[in-house]
């Protein structure tokens, strides 16, 4: 286990930002941290990056305890905040050399490392550009380049795709996939759920400081699948088909949506081939029949509404 929190609590006066958070992340995982605004994602990431101290509980990174062994943790982590902090009048190479020096990388090694990360993040052609002249996407790539200088074990990324155009988002996503292949443990908080679904192996959903779910992606989707729903498209007489199905046992609800019938079954795992047979027996021609897709977005909406306990 590379990151672990035990009863992690953070209070700001009367506000409880984190409430007894239990989190376990293994080495090499790509962990997606999801939650509404103000849920506690940034607070968690700031605690893990040693910027904040917990009010109560414990957090460990690479076996070292936050607050007591923070100095040992800092060389092992790379923190990318949700804003781009830049010094005035600095060019890209100076920016990277500045932070390389902060990580005690000196001499020829520094030059080599800076060249390597510039190449990895495709910023070589911008090495002499002023950092505040870079586009948002390039700034984000530069932020990632900064945290790769010292080859950390854990990357803590707070909304890395926020404010990026589609191309920039794809580039960041590909870069993160590459880092995952390199064996880095990545913790990402984001609101762009379909991208997290592509990237992450495990997911944590937090709301009002409480961790609602933590586990593999498949598990969260399975949990969010509270009902069985199927979508049926018939060639004609949609109303009649709806009426027929509404009277059928085992069917909870029938809804017409965009020319299709969305049928909600009373029991999960119910065999819906019977419904198909019923329609065919009544001379309805079925164009399409498919089970409802539950993706990460649907799961998030259901879980944060408290539908799944």
């Amino acid at each position: 286990m590379i990151v672990e929190t035990i009863n992690l609590t953070k209070r700001y006066g009367k506000l409880t930002a984190l409430d007894n958070l239990h989190l376990k992340i293994d080495e090499g995982e790509c962990f997606g941290y999801i939650g509404p605004n103000g849920a506690g994602k940034t607070t968690t990431i700031k605690i893990l990056s040693t910027l904040l101290q917990p009010t109560w509980g414990e957090a460990r990174v690479c076996g070292h305890v936050i607050g007591y062994e923070s100095r040992k943790i800092r060389p092992l982590i790379g923190y990318v905040p949700d804003f781009f902090g830049a010094y005035e009048d600095m060019v890209v190479r100076e920016y990277l050399e500045f932070f390389a020096s902060a990580y005690n990388i000196t001499g020829k090694q520094r030059t080599r490392v800076v060249n390597d990360v510039l190449e990895l993040t495709d910023l070589v052609y911008k090495h002499d550009a002023l950092v505040d002249s870079l586009s948002r996407g390039m700034q984000q790539r530069l932020s990632i380049a900064r945290v790769l200088l010292h080859d950390p074990k854990v990357l803590l990324l707070d909304e890395p795709a926020s404010g990026l155009d589609p191309r920039a988002r794809i580039e960041i996503r590909e870069l993160l996939k590459e880092l995952r292949r390199m064996g880095k443990t990545i913790i990402i908080s984001s609101h762009i759920l379909h991208e997290l679904a592509e990237l992450c192996t495990t997911v944590g959903i937090i709301e009002q400081g409480k961790l609602l779910f933590h586990g593999p992606l498949e598990e969260i989707i399975r949990r969010a699948r509270t009902t069985s729903k199927i979508s049926i498209r018939v060639t004609e007489q949609l109303d009649l088909a709806a009426l027929l199905l509404q009277r059928t046992k085992g069917i909870k609800n029938v809804e017409q949506l965009n020319g299709s019938l969305v049928v909600e079954l009373k029991q999960q795992g119910h065999d819906f081939s019977a419904i198909a047979r019923l329609l065919l027996d009544n001379n309805f021609k079925i164009q399409e029949i498919k089970e409802e897709e539950v993706n990460l977005e649907t799961a998030f909406m259901r879980l944060t509404k408290g539908i799944v306990q």
Partner: protein, 606 residues
């Protein structure tokens, strides 16, 4: 006709009283407790000045009406001076932040995209800054009216005093708004703004008040044999002295050799000052209205930058340059190179003046243009001014060091690296010293030269003691280090750069001023060897009496007799003062390192 008048009235109504920018500030900001404390402080200071002055003038004995009137007149003088001094400090403090309002507030672009007219935006911005200053002025009026009770103070004098303060405040605000609307202001400009105002007020006053070559011959001399200077219509304090009858303006009839406007200005300097400042404010405001939507916006090249491109390789708008080499201590590198490359012209000018001024005086003295008694007086005044400038610049730079990191959101990035708080602070201090040393180098090097080269003529004692130059060099460095550490303390705790600069520069000015006043009082009361021992303990007495030790003695004969003992006492005093200040700096620095993490975490947690 009625329709036209109505429209005119409506236009004026929306321009000022119903200006949404001004209304917002009046409704919301005036309820802040900070402004309440400011009003209490301002009125309390005025009241204290009046009460003390009245108490001093009465001295517990029954006074005649004439004595009461004289006392009231004196009280009014002190109150006017205090009011003008506070206005000269508060007006820049309130208006300076306007310089970077475009970049900082992120609301300016929204504002200029609304149907608000350019005049509404400019007047709204200007009056919202000046509102509190003018309210303070008006709030002080009853205190001034109290001084009229016993006579000795005319309504015209009260009006003149208020007009001088108000026009100074309005001019300051107009300059700040103009810089903001032109789009040439940065955070560095704020400090230059303060510095230029302070330099103008101090330098012109010193020249006008003390340099007899600037005095007008036809002006009657006062009891101290001082006359009115040519510079009086250009300076609020000099003009106030005329309004308070401390200095007499030449009669209009005796100025026949001068043209209409100059004649008027010299005969009625207060009115002239109010007139030209009001006209300047109007011009600047009208220009601001012109430029508010036409001026450059963030990222666009300015006309100044475009003009300068002729002399430099990089084009304005060009957003790249060759990378520099980063030191092994990146924080020190950032402080030293980042500061030095910014505000370059002002900094170079101060360094150049620091060398040129004392060197010119020294050459003048060596060529026999000055006596051995006059040269150290002028030199000490020059070195004092240079030292004061260097101290303020160093304090300002230190005050912005942490707040800039927090505002540009790079502090969090630094804190997640292995750099310890000691490393970061040591880097800051090292960078600040690298930045500040050249500012002090000029006078220090010239003093060392004068000290080692010896007297100008044979059989003459040295103008400056050799060891004084060395002692002063060491003390000046440790005083500056103390100011830097103070600036770092304030910068660590403050949230905004403007507040950090105001507090730290204000603190340094107050502490240095109080210490120096106390030191001067001690030295003047004791004099001689004891005075020589005490002088190094406060910044300005240190410079004053180490450069001009004759000031410690009543007569030249006393100085000749007591010089040897005074030198030994001064050397001992310097050693003790150096050790004391070094200890204070070390303790303060250690405290800074100890509290660094906790202070930043508390601020993150808020």
């Amino acid at each position: 006709m009625n329709q036209v008048l109505y429209k005119l009235w409506l236009w004026f109504w929306h321009l000022l009283p119903a200006n949404p920018i001004l209304v917002r500030v009046v409704q919301v900001a005036s309820r802040r407790s900070r402004h309440l404390w400011l009003r209490i402080g301002y009125l309390g200071t005025l009241l204290l000045v009046v009460v003390f002055s009245l108490a001093l003038s009465s001295s517990g004995r029954s006074a005649s009406l004439a004595d009461l009137a004289k006392g009231a007149s004196q009280t009014f003088s002190f109150a006017s001076l205090a009011q003008l001094a506070m206005m000269c400090f508060l007006a820049p403090a309130f208006t300076a932040a306007a310089i970077t309002q475009e970049k900082d507030a992120q609301t300016f672009n929204i504002l200029i995209s609304t149907p608000l007219s350019s005049g509404q935006i400019v007047f709204g911005s200007l009056m919202s800054r000046l509102y509190f200053v003018i309210v303070l002025l008006i709030a002080g009026l009853p205190i001034f009216l109290m001084t009229m009770v016993y006579g000795g103070v005319t309504t015209a004098q009260v009006v003149e005093s208020f007009a001088l303060s108000a026009s100074t405040a309005v001019l300051t605000g107009s300059v700040a708004i103009f810089i903001a609307m032109m789009g040439v202001g940065t955070r560095r400009t704020i400090f230059s703004f303060y510095l230029v105002i302070a330099f103008y007020l101090v330098a012109i006053y010193l020249v006008g008040h003390y340099w007899d070559r600037s005095w007008i011959d036809s002006s009657p001399a006062n009891l101290s044999a001082r006359k009115m200077s040519w510079l009086t219509p250009l300076h609020p304090f000099l003009a106030l002295q005329v309004a308070l009858d401390r200095i007499h303006a030449p009669p209009y009839e005796r100025l026949v050799e001068h043209g209409g406007m100059i004649r008027f200005a010299l005969a009625y300097p207060s009115a002239a000052y109010v007139t030209w400042t009001s006209l300047a404010s109007l011009c600047l405001t009208l220009s601001s209205i012109f430029f508010v939507r036409r001026g450059v916006k963030t990222g666009e090249p300015t006309w100044v930058g475009t003009w300068l491109d002729r002399f430099r390789k990089q084009q304005s708008g060009q957003r790249s340059r060759p990378p520099r080499t980063v030191w092994n201590n990146p924080v020190a590198w950032r402080e030293a190179t980042g500061r030095a490359s910014g505000g370059g012209v002002l900094r170079l000018a101060i360094i150049a003046i620091g060398f040129a001024g004392p060197l010119t005086l020294a050459i003048y003295y060596w060529n026999g243009g000055m006596s051995i008694t006059t040269f150290p007086q002028w030199l000490s005044a020059l070195v004092l001014v240079q030292f004061a400038l260097a101290l303020i610049i160093a304090t300002n730079t230190a005050a912005t060091s942490m707040t800039k990191e927090k505002e540009s959101q790079t502090m969090d990035l630094l804190l997640t690296t292995p750099l310890t708080s000691n490393y970061i602070l040591w880097g800051k201090l090292r960078g600040l010293v690298s930045f500040a040393l050249p500012l002090l180098a000029g006078p220090v090097i010239v003093l060392l030269l004068i000290g080692f080269l010896g007297p100008s003529r044979a059989n003459q004692p040295p103008a400056i003691w050799t060891e004084s130059a060395v002692e002063l060099s060491a003390l000046v460095v440790v005083f500056t280090a103390a100011a830097c550490v103070l600036g770092l303390h304030v910068s660590l705790r403050a949230k905004k750069t403007v507040m950090a600069v105001m507090y730290s520069v204000g603190l340094v000015v107050v502490v240095t001023g109080v210490l120096s006043l106390m030191g001067t009082a001690f030295v003047k009361s004791s004099g001689g060897e004891f005075g020589a021992f005490i002088a190094p303990f406060t910044p300005f007495t240190c410079v004053r009496y180490l450069v001009d030790p004759r000031g410690l003695f009543a007569t030249e004969k006393d100085f000749t007799q007591g010089a040897s003992a005074a030198r030994v006492a001064a050397a001992f005093g310097c050693a003790c003062a150096f050790s004391l200040y070094l200890f204070v700096v070390w303790r303060a620095y250690s405290g800074l390192v100890r509290n660094f993490d906790m202070t930043l975490r508390k601020q993150s947690g808020l």
